[in-house]
């Protein structure tokens, strides 16, 4: 069950997994991107 679904709705486990993924992704990817962007100064305009 790759979708984490048993009857059309995502299981609690799958939901937790997605929340965890989004939480970490938003923190790490966004900050890594920000530091990179500031370093290259490509976002200032």
């Amino acid at each position: 069950m790759p979708e984490g679904r048993s009857s059309g709705r995502p299981s609690m486990f799958a939901r937790l997994a997605r929340v965890s993924y989004m939480f970490l992704m938003m923190n790490y990817c966004a900050v890594a991107g920000t530091l990179s962007a500031i370093w290259r100064r490509k976002v200032w305009r």
Partner: protein, 450 residues
């Protein structure tokens, strides 16, 4: 190492749990003390002087003070001060005609609104499209100097006391401007931010609208046949068409909106939504040309001047959910970079006695910047301390579970079909199927629509 562990753990806990809890208590105390007022509660009687408080651009609004508490403001049902709507556009020829038609169709007296569109050095047909509306739109054809400079040029042409800022892409609900300017009846309010709704949230709004209409009752149905009623059905239709999974707003966005509402209730929001916000003209100061987040800097300057910036849950602008994963990533990067830049432009934000919302600013904006580093420190400290005490072993195990769950979540996103992930948003993301950022974007969408 123990100190590092606890500092990082408490930082994360405070930013995501402690601060919202503090706001809930704070807002509760405010409403109890002042017979609270909520932006969603429309229908209170206008103050006798409400019109004069916002009509005269030269009148001096009053910063809030202990004798003028935040929650003691009123929300008149129908106030229509003269407004100047400012749009900065660059190469938006394809969108501008529809956008201007949208503004012209607003339920707002035509003689009380001025529309200013600044072309920021457009190289397409933007100016030619605009010229067809030259009788009803003020056109500023400026050389390319960036959005901030374009806004400065637009505001310089503004003739009225309330500025409404908008973008070329999004559309306003017919009564958006009226809802947006209503809070200015309170002289302590310097700015108002509206709510930007993505298509996947439309059905929620339709339900909220229907509830509002029921509360208003039969005595106030002005324009109901062609206004809210039509809007509700239109939103329902949009909701069905744009996203079959618009059953509610997801965890993350619910959380962010809750914070915004609470911050508005206890004082001021920390910034505004660029697609729809309003500001007293007297509070506008020209933006530095390289400003990234004009919609945060401008309202925060009003707050630093002692005014409130509040959130209107009735002023809607609509947009489609981002479908281009790279665009979504760039937006996040830009937002965080802008928050860092604002610290340089307005270091007063860091001074507690100068910034009336210092606690909220540090807890929300700076806290979010600090959390990723706190997460890394926490993980490293947990590894280093895990052999010294069972508590640290448990903490390490907990973090491992979260990281493993996140890995599983990433795998789920890779496995999910585009249709399941984004409903009818799929056509937006399909052209970017090869993007390395596709999975993260789909994760956001799935959470939003969970």
């Amino acid at each position: 190492m123990r100190l590092l562990f606890w500092i990082s753990a408490l930082t994360i806990a405070y930013v995501y749990v402690g601060y919202p809890a503090l706001l809930v208590v704070w807002a509760g105390l405010n409403s109890r003390r002042h017979c609270g007022w909520r932006m969603a509660d429309r229908g209170s009687n206008p103050q006798p002087n409400s019109q004069s408080a916002i009509r005269d651009p030269q009148s001096s609004p009053q910063p809030h003070s202990p004798s003028n508490p935040p929650s003691a403001i009123r929300n008149p049902q129908r106030v229509e001060p003269a407004v100047s709507i400012v749009i900065a556009a660059r190469n938006e020829a394809a969108r501008l005609a529809a956008r201007i038609e949208n503004l012209l169709a607003l339920e707002y007296p035509a003689d009380r609104r001025q529309i200013i569109v600044v072309s920021d050095g457009s190289t397409d047909d933007t100016v030619r499209v605009l010229s067809a509306y030259r009788d009803v739109v003020e056109i500023v054809d400026a050389p390319r100097r960036g959005k901030a400079a374009a806004l400065n040029a637009g505001v310089a042409r503004a003739a009225h006391g309330i500025l409404v800022f908008a973008d070329a892409r999004q559309m306003f609900a017919p009564d958006a401007v009226r809802a947006l300017v209503a809070p200015f009846a309170d002289p302590s309010i310097g700015g108002v931010t509206g709510e930007l709704l993505l298509d996947c949230e439309a059905s929620e709004v339709a339900g909220r609208r229907a509830g509002t209409e029921r509360r208003r009752g039969p005595g106030d149905r002005r324009g109901a046949d062609r206004g809210p009623g039509r809007r509700s059905s239109s939103l329902d239709r949009r909701g069905r068409i744009a996203s079959t999974i618009a059953d509610g707003v997801g965890l993350y966005w619910r959380y962010e909106k809750l914070l915004r509402r609470l911050e508005s209730a206890v004082g001021s929001t920390l910034g505004a939504t660029g697609a729809i916000y309003a500001l007293r003209r007297s509070l506008y100061r020209p933006l530095p040309a390289d400003t990234i987040l004009d919609d945060v800097l401008t309202p925060m300057r009003a707050v630093l001047d002692g005014y409130r910036v509040v959130f209107s849950e009735q002023a809607y602008a609509f947009d489609r959910a981002a479908g281009d994963a790279n665009a979504e990533r760039r937006r996040k990067v830009r937002t965080l970079a802008g928050n860092v830049q604002i610290l340089g432009l307005e270091p007063r934000l860091l001074v507690p006695l100068v910034n009336p919302v210092w606690l909220q600013y540090v807890s929300h904006k700076l806290g979010r910047l600090a959390v990723p580093y706190a997460l890394l420190v926490l993980l490293a400290a947990s590894v280093a301390l895990s052999a010294t005490h069972p508590l640290y072993s448990i903490a390490l195990a907990g973090q491992c579970i979260v990281y493993l769950l996140a890995g599983y979540g990433a795998w789920l996103e890779c496995q999910a079909t585009p249709l399941a992930a984004a409903g009818l948003n799929q056509p937006l993301s399909a052209p970017n199927a090869g993007s390395p950022f596709r999975a993260p974007l789909r994760a956001v969408k799935r959470i939003v629509n969970a």
